[in-house]
Protein backbone atom coordinates (compact mmCIF):
# COMPACT_ATOMS: atom_id res chain seq x y z
CA UNK A 1 0.00 0.00 0.00
CA UNK A 2 2.74 2.40 1.02
CA UNK A 3 5.02 1.29 -1.80
CA UNK A 4 2.23 1.78 -4.29
CA UNK A 5 1.62 5.33 -3.22
CA UNK A 6 5.32 6.16 -3.32
CA UNK A 7 5.56 4.74 -6.81
CA UNK A 8 2.67 6.86 -7.85
CA UNK A 9 4.35 9.99 -6.54
CA UNK A 10 7.56 9.18 -8.34
CA UNK A 11 5.69 8.62 -11.56
CA UNK A 12 3.87 11.83 -11.06
CA UNK A 13 7.01 13.91 -10.64
CA UNK A 14 9.32 12.34 -13.19
CA UNK A 15 7.49 11.80 -16.41
CA UNK A 16 9.87 9.88 -18.63
CA UNK A 17 8.58 9.49 -22.15
CA UNK A 18 11.40 7.14 -23.22
CA UNK A 19 10.75 4.66 -20.41
CA UNK A 20 7.17 4.01 -21.35
CA UNK A 21 5.83 7.39 -20.46
CA UNK A 22 3.70 8.60 -17.68
CA UNK A 23 1.23 5.74 -17.59
CA UNK A 24 3.77 3.00 -18.13
CA UNK A 25 5.60 3.95 -14.98
CA UNK A 26 2.52 4.32 -12.90
CA UNK A 27 0.98 0.99 -13.54
CA UNK A 28 4.08 -1.15 -13.46
CA UNK A 29 3.36 -3.93 -11.00
CA UNK A 30 5.45 -6.31 -8.99
CA UNK A 31 5.21 -10.04 -9.67
CA UNK A 32 3.47 -10.65 -6.37
CA UNK A 33 0.84 -8.15 -7.29
CA UNK A 34 0.34 -9.73 -10.68
CA UNK A 35 -0.13 -13.14 -9.15
CA UNK A 36 -2.52 -11.74 -6.63
CA UNK A 37 -4.49 -10.05 -9.40
CA UNK A 38 -4.71 -13.30 -11.34
CA UNK A 39 -6.02 -15.06 -8.28
CA UNK A 40 -8.51 -12.29 -7.73
CA UNK A 41 -9.80 -12.53 -11.28
CA UNK A 42 -9.98 -16.29 -11.07
CA UNK A 43 -11.90 -16.07 -7.83
CA UNK A 44 -14.32 -13.52 -9.28
CA UNK A 45 -14.85 -15.57 -12.39
CA UNK A 46 -15.40 -18.80 -10.50
CA UNK A 47 -17.80 -17.15 -8.11
CA UNK A 48 -19.86 -16.09 -11.11
CA UNK A 49 -20.04 -19.65 -12.39
CA UNK A 50 -20.27 -21.52 -9.10
CA UNK A 51 -22.56 -19.05 -7.37
CA UNK A 52 -25.54 -20.56 -5.65
CA UNK A 53 -28.58 -20.40 -7.89
CA UNK A 54 -30.89 -17.56 -7.00
CA UNK A 55 -33.80 -19.17 -5.21
CA UNK A 56 -36.40 -16.69 -4.20
CA UNK A 57 -38.65 -17.55 -1.35
CA UNK A 58 -36.42 -20.44 -0.36
CA UNK A 59 -37.01 -22.83 2.52
CA UNK A 60 -38.83 -21.68 5.62
CA UNK A 61 -36.73 -19.62 7.97
CA UNK A 62 -34.04 -18.94 5.42
CA UNK A 63 -33.14 -15.75 3.69
CA UNK A 64 -33.01 -15.35 -0.04
CA UNK A 65 -29.75 -14.20 -1.56
CA UNK A 66 -31.12 -10.69 -1.96
CA UNK A 67 -31.67 -10.54 1.77
CA UNK A 68 -35.39 -11.08 1.47
CA UNK A 69 -36.82 -12.78 4.51
CA UNK A 70 -38.38 -15.88 2.98
CA UNK A 71 -40.51 -16.38 6.04
CA UNK A 72 -42.65 -13.31 6.49
CA UNK A 73 -43.12 -11.64 9.85
CA UNK A 74 -45.39 -13.25 12.42
CA UNK A 75 -48.76 -11.57 12.17
CA UNK A 76 -50.69 -11.54 15.41
CA UNK A 77 -54.27 -12.33 14.49
CA UNK A 78 -57.17 -11.57 16.85
CA UNK A 79 -57.96 -15.29 16.92
CA UNK A 80 -55.28 -17.87 16.30
CA UNK A 81 -57.15 -19.44 13.45
CA UNK A 82 -56.12 -23.09 12.96
CA UNK A 83 -55.78 -23.58 9.21
CA UNK A 84 -54.33 -27.00 10.00
CA UNK A 85 -57.62 -28.13 11.58
CA UNK A 86 -59.84 -26.77 8.82
CA UNK A 87 -57.83 -27.33 5.66
CA UNK A 88 -55.53 -30.05 6.96
CA UNK A 89 -57.54 -32.43 9.12
CA UNK A 90 -61.04 -31.61 7.89
CA UNK A 91 -59.89 -31.17 4.28
CA UNK A 92 -62.19 -28.21 3.70
CA UNK A 93 -61.58 -26.62 0.31
CA UNK A 94 -59.78 -23.28 0.62
CA UNK A 95 -62.47 -21.69 -1.51
CA UNK A 96 -65.22 -22.62 0.92
CA UNK A 97 -64.11 -19.68 3.05
CA UNK A 98 -61.96 -17.69 0.61
CA UNK A 99 -64.86 -17.71 -1.75
CA UNK A 100 -63.89 -14.89 -4.10
CA UNK A 101 -60.64 -16.44 -5.24
CA UNK A 102 -62.27 -18.08 -8.25
CA UNK A 103 -64.11 -15.01 -9.47
CA UNK A 104 -62.22 -11.89 -8.50
CA UNK A 105 -58.85 -10.31 -7.98
CA UNK A 106 -58.86 -10.94 -4.26
CA UNK A 107 -59.55 -14.16 -2.45
CA UNK A 108 -61.50 -12.52 0.34
CA UNK A 109 -61.61 -13.04 4.08
CA UNK A 110 -64.83 -14.81 5.11
CA UNK A 111 -67.44 -12.91 7.00
CA UNK A 112 -68.22 -13.85 10.56
CA UNK A 113 -71.50 -15.50 9.62
CA UNK A 114 -69.57 -17.96 7.50
CA UNK A 115 -67.74 -19.13 10.62
CA UNK A 116 -70.96 -19.20 12.60
CA UNK A 117 -72.78 -21.14 9.91
CA UNK A 118 -70.78 -24.18 10.92
CA UNK A 119 -69.76 -23.44 14.47
CA UNK A 120 -73.31 -22.87 15.68
CA UNK A 121 -73.90 -26.51 14.94
CA UNK A 122 -70.65 -27.98 16.24
CA UNK A 123 -71.39 -28.52 19.93
CA UNK A 124 -68.21 -30.45 20.66
CA UNK A 125 -65.81 -27.53 20.39
CA UNK A 126 -67.88 -24.71 21.85
CA UNK A 127 -65.95 -24.73 25.11
CA UNK A 128 -62.55 -24.17 23.44
CA UNK A 129 -61.01 -20.75 24.12
CA UNK A 130 -60.70 -19.80 20.44
CA UNK A 131 -64.31 -20.70 19.72
CA UNK A 132 -65.43 -18.81 22.80
CA UNK A 133 -63.67 -15.75 21.41
CA UNK A 134 -65.44 -16.27 18.10
CA UNK A 135 -68.83 -16.33 19.83
CA UNK A 136 -67.86 -13.21 21.74
CA UNK A 137 -67.38 -11.33 18.47
CA UNK A 138 -70.65 -12.76 17.18
CA UNK A 139 -72.64 -11.68 20.22
CA UNK A 140 -71.06 -8.22 20.22
CA UNK A 141 -71.95 -7.95 16.52
CA UNK A 142 -68.38 -7.06 15.70
CA UNK A 143 -66.39 -8.25 12.71
CA UNK A 144 -63.13 -10.01 13.50
CA UNK A 145 -60.30 -7.59 12.66
CA UNK A 146 -58.19 -10.05 10.68
CA UNK A 147 -54.88 -8.70 9.50
CA UNK A 148 -53.48 -9.01 6.02
CA UNK A 149 -50.59 -11.43 5.66
CA UNK A 150 -49.95 -11.52 1.94
CA UNK A 151 -49.84 -7.83 1.23
CA UNK A 152 -48.67 -6.67 -2.17
CA UNK A 153 -47.59 -3.12 -3.01
CA UNK A 154 -50.28 -0.79 -4.30
CA UNK A 155 -48.83 -0.71 -7.80
CA UNK A 156 -49.26 -4.44 -8.29
CA UNK A 157 -52.36 -6.16 -9.50
CA UNK A 158 -52.48 -9.83 -8.68
CA UNK A 159 -55.47 -11.74 -9.95
CA UNK A 160 -56.53 -14.82 -7.98
CA UNK A 161 -59.23 -15.66 -10.52
CA UNK A 162 -56.81 -16.23 -13.39
CA UNK A 163 -54.60 -18.59 -11.42
CA UNK A 164 -57.45 -20.56 -9.80
CA UNK A 165 -59.35 -20.86 -13.07
CA UNK A 166 -56.28 -22.09 -14.86
CA UNK A 167 -54.75 -24.52 -12.42
CA UNK A 168 -57.73 -25.67 -10.36
CA UNK A 169 -60.66 -25.66 -12.76
CA UNK A 170 -58.92 -26.28 -16.08
CA UNK A 171 -56.05 -28.48 -15.07
CA UNK A 172 -57.79 -30.04 -12.05
CA UNK A 173 -54.78 -29.75 -9.81
CA UNK A 174 -55.40 -30.20 -6.08
CA UNK A 175 -56.43 -26.98 -4.38
CA UNK A 176 -53.75 -27.38 -1.75
CA UNK A 177 -51.13 -27.42 -4.49
CA UNK A 178 -52.69 -24.59 -6.50
CA UNK A 179 -52.89 -22.18 -3.58
CA UNK A 180 -49.60 -23.48 -2.26
CA UNK A 181 -47.62 -22.12 -5.21
CA UNK A 182 -47.81 -18.70 -3.61
CA UNK A 183 -49.10 -19.28 -0.10
CA UNK A 184 -47.07 -22.31 0.89
CA UNK A 185 -48.66 -25.22 2.69
CA UNK A 186 -51.15 -23.24 4.73
CA UNK A 187 -52.88 -26.47 5.70
CA UNK A 188 -49.95 -27.23 7.99
CA UNK A 189 -49.97 -23.83 9.70
CA UNK A 190 -52.26 -22.31 12.26
CA UNK A 191 -52.43 -18.65 11.29
CA UNK A 192 -51.05 -18.11 7.82
CA UNK A 193 -47.58 -16.78 7.37
CA UNK A 194 -45.86 -15.62 4.23
CA UNK A 195 -43.40 -18.28 3.10
CA UNK A 196 -42.78 -17.16 -0.48
CA UNK A 197 -40.94 -14.02 -1.51
CA UNK A 198 -43.84 -12.49 -3.49
CA UNK A 199 -41.29 -10.33 -5.26
CA UNK A 200 -41.40 -9.59 -8.96
CA UNK A 201 -38.47 -11.85 -9.80
CA UNK A 202 -40.21 -14.65 -7.97
CA UNK A 203 -43.41 -14.14 -9.97
CA UNK A 204 -41.40 -14.06 -13.20
CA UNK A 205 -39.53 -17.23 -12.30
CA UNK A 206 -42.83 -19.10 -12.59
CA UNK A 207 -44.16 -17.12 -15.54
CA UNK A 208 -41.05 -18.03 -17.52
CA UNK A 209 -41.57 -21.74 -17.03
CA UNK A 210 -43.17 -23.74 -19.81
CA UNK A 211 -46.64 -24.75 -18.74
CA UNK A 212 -48.86 -27.09 -20.71
CA UNK A 213 -51.50 -25.09 -22.50
CA UNK A 214 -54.27 -27.60 -21.90
CA UNK A 215 -54.58 -30.85 -20.03
CA UNK A 216 -53.21 -33.65 -22.17
CA UNK A 217 -51.72 -31.41 -24.84
CA UNK A 218 -48.03 -31.19 -25.50
CA UNK A 219 -48.10 -27.53 -26.44
CA UNK A 220 -46.47 -25.37 -23.83
CA UNK A 221 -46.59 -21.68 -23.20
CA UNK A 222 -45.42 -19.44 -20.44
CA UNK A 223 -47.27 -16.88 -18.41
CA UNK A 224 -47.76 -13.36 -19.70
CA UNK A 225 -44.81 -11.01 -19.32
CA UNK A 226 -46.32 -7.68 -20.24
CA UNK A 227 -45.64 -5.00 -17.60
CA UNK A 228 -49.18 -3.73 -17.52
CA UNK A 229 -50.74 -7.09 -16.77
CA UNK A 230 -49.48 -6.85 -13.21
CA UNK A 231 -48.49 -3.23 -12.77
CA UNK A 232 -51.10 -0.58 -12.59
Amino acid sequence: MVGGSVGYRQGFHHVDEAAGGYYGRNFRMSHAKKIFLWFLMFWMGSSLVLAEPFVQGGPIGSQTSDGYDALGPVVEQPIEFPHNRHAGDMKINCMYCHTYARRSNVSGIPRLDKCMGCHNLIEGVKDRPRIKKLFEYWENKQPIPWKKVHDLPDFVRFNHERHIQRFYFQEKRPIRETCGYCHGDVASMTTARRVKALSMGWCISCHQKDHLEKVGSSVTSHGPNDCWLCHK
Binding site: F155, R157, R162, Q165, D226, C227, W228, H231, K232
Partner: protein, 282 residues
Protein backbone atom coordinates in the same frame (compact mmCIF):
# COMPACT_ATOMS: atom_id res chain seq x y z
CA UNK B 1 -36.08 -9.08 -21.62
CA UNK B 2 -34.85 -12.57 -21.71
CA UNK B 3 -33.14 -14.09 -24.70
CA UNK B 4 -35.95 -16.58 -25.32
CA UNK B 5 -38.43 -13.72 -25.32
CA UNK B 6 -36.27 -11.89 -27.84
CA UNK B 7 -36.14 -14.90 -30.14
CA UNK B 8 -39.80 -15.77 -29.84
CA UNK B 9 -41.04 -12.26 -30.46
CA UNK B 10 -38.37 -11.36 -32.98
CA UNK B 11 -40.90 -9.89 -35.36
CA UNK B 12 -42.04 -7.25 -32.97
CA UNK B 13 -38.46 -6.23 -32.17
CA UNK B 14 -37.11 -6.35 -35.70
CA UNK B 15 -39.91 -4.63 -37.52
CA UNK B 16 -40.48 -0.99 -37.17
CA UNK B 17 -43.86 -0.16 -35.77
CA UNK B 18 -46.42 -0.06 -37.12
CA UNK B 19 -46.21 -2.63 -39.84
CA UNK B 20 -48.89 -4.03 -42.10
CA UNK B 21 -51.34 -6.35 -40.37
CA UNK B 22 -49.62 -5.82 -37.06
CA UNK B 23 -52.76 -6.65 -35.13
CA UNK B 24 -54.14 -9.25 -37.54
CA UNK B 25 -53.85 -12.08 -35.05
CA UNK B 26 -53.93 -10.01 -31.88
CA UNK B 27 -57.12 -10.21 -29.84
CA UNK B 28 -57.11 -6.54 -28.93
CA UNK B 29 -55.89 -3.22 -30.23
CA UNK B 30 -57.48 -0.35 -28.37
CA UNK B 31 -58.35 2.73 -30.34
CA UNK B 32 -60.58 5.73 -30.23
CA UNK B 33 -62.53 8.09 -32.43
CA UNK B 34 -63.33 11.61 -31.24
CA UNK B 35 -65.93 13.53 -33.17
CA UNK B 36 -65.06 17.20 -32.84
CA UNK B 37 -68.37 18.11 -34.41
CA UNK B 38 -70.14 16.59 -31.42
CA UNK B 39 -67.78 17.92 -28.77
CA UNK B 40 -69.34 20.82 -26.89
CA UNK B 41 -66.33 21.40 -24.63
CA UNK B 42 -68.23 20.66 -21.43
CA UNK B 43 -65.23 19.05 -19.68
CA UNK B 44 -67.28 16.08 -18.46
CA UNK B 45 -64.57 13.75 -19.78
CA UNK B 46 -61.95 15.57 -17.73
CA UNK B 47 -64.01 15.33 -14.57
CA UNK B 48 -64.68 11.65 -15.17
CA UNK B 49 -60.98 11.06 -15.69
CA UNK B 50 -60.13 12.82 -12.44
CA UNK B 51 -62.56 10.61 -10.59
CA UNK B 52 -61.58 7.37 -12.26
CA UNK B 53 -57.82 7.67 -12.28
CA UNK B 54 -57.04 9.31 -8.92
CA UNK B 55 -55.79 12.50 -10.53
CA UNK B 56 -54.67 15.10 -8.07
CA UNK B 57 -56.27 18.54 -8.07
CA UNK B 58 -53.26 20.82 -7.94
CA UNK B 59 -54.84 24.18 -7.26
CA UNK B 60 -54.90 27.46 -9.13
CA UNK B 61 -51.32 28.49 -8.54
CA UNK B 62 -49.76 25.25 -9.75
CA UNK B 63 -52.21 25.07 -12.59
CA UNK B 64 -50.85 28.43 -13.72
CA UNK B 65 -47.35 26.98 -13.67
CA UNK B 66 -48.49 24.22 -15.97
CA UNK B 67 -48.38 21.50 -13.35
CA UNK B 68 -51.96 20.35 -13.75
CA UNK B 69 -52.41 16.61 -13.91
CA UNK B 70 -55.36 16.34 -16.30
CA UNK B 71 -54.82 13.26 -18.42
CA UNK B 72 -57.48 14.54 -20.79
CA UNK B 73 -57.87 18.24 -21.36
CA UNK B 74 -60.09 20.35 -23.56
CA UNK B 75 -58.09 22.62 -25.80
CA UNK B 76 -59.71 25.65 -27.37
CA UNK B 77 -58.86 26.97 -30.81
CA UNK B 78 -60.07 29.89 -32.80
CA UNK B 79 -59.71 29.41 -36.50
CA UNK B 80 -59.31 32.14 -39.06
CA UNK B 81 -62.26 34.46 -39.10
CA UNK B 82 -63.85 32.69 -36.17
CA UNK B 83 -63.01 35.04 -33.35
CA UNK B 84 -65.99 37.31 -33.13
CA UNK B 85 -65.44 40.99 -32.57
CA UNK B 86 -68.07 41.32 -29.93
CA UNK B 87 -67.88 41.80 -26.20
CA UNK B 88 -67.47 38.01 -25.85
CA UNK B 89 -64.49 37.22 -28.07
CA UNK B 90 -64.16 33.73 -26.60
CA UNK B 91 -67.27 32.69 -28.39
CA UNK B 92 -67.00 30.43 -31.37
CA UNK B 93 -64.09 28.36 -30.17
CA UNK B 94 -63.41 24.90 -31.44
CA UNK B 95 -62.86 22.29 -28.79
CA UNK B 96 -60.38 19.51 -28.97
CA UNK B 97 -60.12 16.90 -26.24
CA UNK B 98 -56.42 16.10 -25.99
CA UNK B 99 -55.32 12.91 -24.30
CA UNK B 100 -52.51 10.45 -24.84
CA UNK B 101 -52.71 9.41 -28.46
CA UNK B 102 -51.30 5.95 -27.68
CA UNK B 103 -48.98 6.28 -30.66
CA UNK B 104 -47.86 3.12 -32.41
CA UNK B 105 -44.42 4.64 -32.95
CA UNK B 106 -44.42 6.60 -29.75
CA UNK B 107 -41.64 9.19 -29.39
CA UNK B 108 -41.75 8.81 -25.61
CA UNK B 109 -40.86 5.13 -25.58
CA UNK B 110 -37.31 4.96 -26.94
CA UNK B 111 -36.05 7.85 -24.81
CA UNK B 112 -36.90 6.34 -21.44
CA UNK B 113 -33.59 5.44 -19.82
CA UNK B 114 -35.11 2.73 -17.61
CA UNK B 115 -37.76 1.27 -19.92
CA UNK B 116 -40.62 2.45 -17.73
CA UNK B 117 -42.70 3.16 -20.80
CA UNK B 118 -43.14 0.56 -23.48
CA UNK B 119 -45.69 -0.72 -25.95
CA UNK B 120 -48.07 -3.35 -24.69
CA UNK B 121 -49.29 -6.19 -26.94
CA UNK B 122 -52.74 -4.61 -27.11
CA UNK B 123 -51.31 -1.42 -28.56
CA UNK B 124 -51.17 0.76 -25.48
CA UNK B 125 -48.34 3.03 -24.55
CA UNK B 126 -47.71 2.00 -20.98
CA UNK B 127 -46.25 3.78 -18.01
CA UNK B 128 -44.96 1.69 -15.13
CA UNK B 129 -44.87 4.00 -12.14
CA UNK B 130 -42.63 1.97 -9.90
CA UNK B 131 -40.07 1.69 -12.66
CA UNK B 132 -40.09 5.41 -13.48
CA UNK B 133 -37.17 7.44 -12.15
CA UNK B 134 -38.52 10.80 -13.22
CA UNK B 135 -36.06 11.79 -15.91
CA UNK B 136 -38.94 13.48 -17.83
CA UNK B 137 -37.35 12.69 -21.20
CA UNK B 138 -40.63 11.16 -22.33
CA UNK B 139 -42.53 14.32 -21.62
CA UNK B 140 -39.93 16.39 -23.44
CA UNK B 141 -40.21 14.13 -26.45
CA UNK B 142 -43.99 13.95 -26.54
CA UNK B 143 -45.34 16.18 -29.33
CA UNK B 144 -48.81 16.20 -27.79
CA UNK B 145 -47.65 17.16 -24.28
CA UNK B 146 -49.91 14.69 -22.60
CA UNK B 147 -47.51 13.33 -20.04
CA UNK B 148 -47.74 14.78 -16.57
CA UNK B 149 -45.07 14.87 -13.94
CA UNK B 150 -45.67 14.68 -10.21
CA UNK B 151 -43.72 17.71 -9.04
CA UNK B 152 -45.14 17.44 -5.56
CA UNK B 153 -46.18 14.68 -3.24
CA UNK B 154 -49.86 15.08 -3.98
CA UNK B 155 -51.15 12.14 -1.92
CA UNK B 156 -50.26 14.16 1.17
CA UNK B 157 -52.62 17.01 0.51
CA UNK B 158 -54.72 16.44 -2.58
CA UNK B 159 -57.14 14.19 -0.73
CA UNK B 160 -57.49 15.43 2.86
CA UNK B 161 -59.41 13.09 5.11
CA UNK B 162 -62.06 11.84 4.33
CA UNK B 163 -61.55 12.52 0.62
CA UNK B 164 -59.08 9.65 0.33
CA UNK B 165 -62.12 7.37 0.44
CA UNK B 166 -63.00 8.47 -3.07
CA UNK B 167 -59.80 7.03 -4.51
CA UNK B 168 -60.11 4.22 -6.99
CA UNK B 169 -58.42 1.17 -5.45
CA UNK B 170 -57.63 -0.27 -8.89
CA UNK B 171 -55.37 2.65 -9.77
CA UNK B 172 -52.08 3.49 -8.10
CA UNK B 173 -51.88 6.78 -6.25
CA UNK B 174 -48.76 8.22 -7.82
CA UNK B 175 -46.15 9.72 -5.60
CA UNK B 176 -43.68 12.51 -6.15
CA UNK B 177 -41.18 12.15 -8.96
CA UNK B 178 -42.98 9.89 -11.42
CA UNK B 179 -44.47 10.57 -14.80
CA UNK B 180 -48.06 9.66 -15.48
CA UNK B 181 -50.37 9.63 -18.46
CA UNK B 182 -53.65 8.43 -19.88
CA UNK B 183 -53.91 4.66 -19.74
CA UNK B 184 -57.13 4.23 -21.75
CA UNK B 185 -58.57 3.20 -18.37
CA UNK B 186 -56.46 0.10 -18.36
CA UNK B 187 -57.92 -1.06 -15.03
CA UNK B 188 -61.34 -1.30 -16.68
CA UNK B 189 -59.91 -3.10 -19.68
CA UNK B 190 -58.16 -5.64 -17.50
CA UNK B 191 -61.23 -6.25 -15.36
CA UNK B 192 -63.34 -6.78 -18.48
CA UNK B 193 -60.73 -8.98 -20.10
CA UNK B 194 -60.55 -11.15 -16.99
CA UNK B 195 -64.30 -11.58 -16.94
CA UNK B 196 -64.34 -12.44 -20.62
CA UNK B 197 -61.45 -14.85 -20.34
CA UNK B 198 -63.09 -16.81 -17.56
CA UNK B 199 -66.14 -17.09 -19.78
CA UNK B 200 -63.87 -18.23 -22.61
CA UNK B 201 -64.55 -15.42 -25.06
CA UNK B 202 -63.22 -12.06 -26.18
CA UNK B 203 -64.55 -8.74 -25.00
CA UNK B 204 -67.64 -7.69 -26.90
CA UNK B 205 -67.78 -4.30 -28.57
CA UNK B 206 -68.84 -1.62 -26.11
CA UNK B 207 -68.53 -3.92 -23.11
CA UNK B 208 -65.75 -1.81 -21.69
CA UNK B 209 -65.61 1.95 -22.04
CA UNK B 210 -63.08 4.44 -20.85
CA UNK B 211 -64.31 6.88 -18.22
CA UNK B 212 -64.21 9.77 -20.70
CA UNK B 213 -66.21 7.89 -23.33
CA UNK B 214 -68.72 6.85 -20.71
CA UNK B 215 -69.15 10.37 -19.39
CA UNK B 216 -69.39 12.17 -22.71
CA UNK B 217 -72.95 13.58 -22.95
CA UNK B 218 -72.87 13.87 -26.73
CA UNK B 219 -71.13 10.55 -27.39
CA UNK B 220 -68.31 12.36 -29.12
CA UNK B 221 -65.83 9.76 -27.90
CA UNK B 222 -66.03 6.24 -29.27
CA UNK B 223 -63.77 3.64 -27.77
CA UNK B 224 -63.24 0.11 -28.90
CA UNK B 225 -61.17 -2.71 -30.27
CA UNK B 226 -59.56 -1.99 -33.62
CA UNK B 227 -58.44 -5.60 -34.05
CA UNK B 228 -62.10 -6.61 -34.24
CA UNK B 229 -63.12 -5.65 -37.78
CA UNK B 230 -66.79 -5.38 -36.84
CA UNK B 231 -66.40 -3.11 -33.86
CA UNK B 232 -67.79 0.39 -34.05
CA UNK B 233 -64.36 1.96 -33.87
CA UNK B 234 -62.94 -0.23 -36.65
CA UNK B 235 -65.86 0.60 -38.91
CA UNK B 236 -65.48 4.31 -38.23
CA UNK B 237 -61.76 4.15 -39.01
CA UNK B 238 -62.54 2.38 -42.24
CA UNK B 239 -65.32 4.78 -43.18
CA UNK B 240 -63.00 7.70 -42.59
CA UNK B 241 -60.30 5.99 -44.64
CA UNK B 242 -57.79 6.12 -41.84
CA UNK B 243 -55.31 3.29 -41.68
CA UNK B 244 -53.25 2.65 -38.59
CA UNK B 245 -50.04 1.93 -40.48
CA UNK B 246 -50.27 4.85 -42.90
CA UNK B 247 -49.40 8.41 -42.08
CA UNK B 248 -50.86 9.91 -45.23
CA UNK B 249 -54.54 9.19 -45.61
CA UNK B 250 -56.45 9.12 -48.82
CA UNK B 251 -58.80 12.07 -48.52
CA UNK B 252 -60.18 11.97 -52.05
CA UNK B 253 -63.67 10.97 -51.11
CA UNK B 254 -66.24 13.61 -50.34
CA UNK B 255 -67.33 13.89 -46.72
CA UNK B 256 -64.34 12.14 -45.24
CA UNK B 257 -63.24 14.10 -42.20
CA UNK B 258 -61.09 11.74 -40.17
CA UNK B 259 -57.54 12.77 -39.33
CA UNK B 260 -54.91 12.08 -36.75
CA UNK B 261 -53.10 14.88 -35.01
CA UNK B 262 -49.54 15.66 -36.13
CA UNK B 263 -49.52 12.70 -38.48
CA UNK B 264 -46.55 14.09 -40.34
CA UNK B 265 -44.38 13.35 -37.30
CA UNK B 266 -44.88 9.63 -38.04
CA UNK B 267 -46.17 8.85 -34.59
CA UNK B 268 -49.11 6.80 -35.89
CA UNK B 269 -51.58 7.67 -33.14
CA UNK B 270 -54.45 5.40 -32.13
CA UNK B 271 -56.94 8.24 -31.92
CA UNK B 272 -58.78 9.54 -34.95
CA UNK B 273 -60.39 12.97 -34.77
CA UNK B 274 -63.30 13.88 -36.98
CA UNK B 275 -63.08 17.44 -38.23
CA UNK B 276 -65.66 19.94 -37.22
CA UNK B 277 -68.04 21.04 -39.90
CA UNK B 278 -68.79 24.75 -39.88
CA UNK B 279 -71.13 26.81 -41.91
CA UNK B 280 -69.63 30.28 -42.05
CA UNK B 281 -72.26 31.57 -44.39
CA UNK B 282 -74.94 31.18 -41.79
Amino acid sequence: MSLSNLIQNWDSFRKRRPYEDQYKDAPYKWAMVIDLDSCIGCNACTVACYAENNLAVVGKERFGKGQAMHWIRIERYWGEGEALETEFPERGAQYLPMLCQQCEAAPCEPVCPVGATHHSPDGLNTQVYNRCVGSRYCSANCPYKVRYFNWWNYPERAWPNPLELQLNPDVTVRSKGVMEKCTFCMQRLRAGQDKAKTAGRLLADGEVLTACAQACPTSAITFGNLADKNSKVARMWKNQQVDLAKNAQDKSEEGVRGYRILEDLNTYPSIVYLERLRNFAA
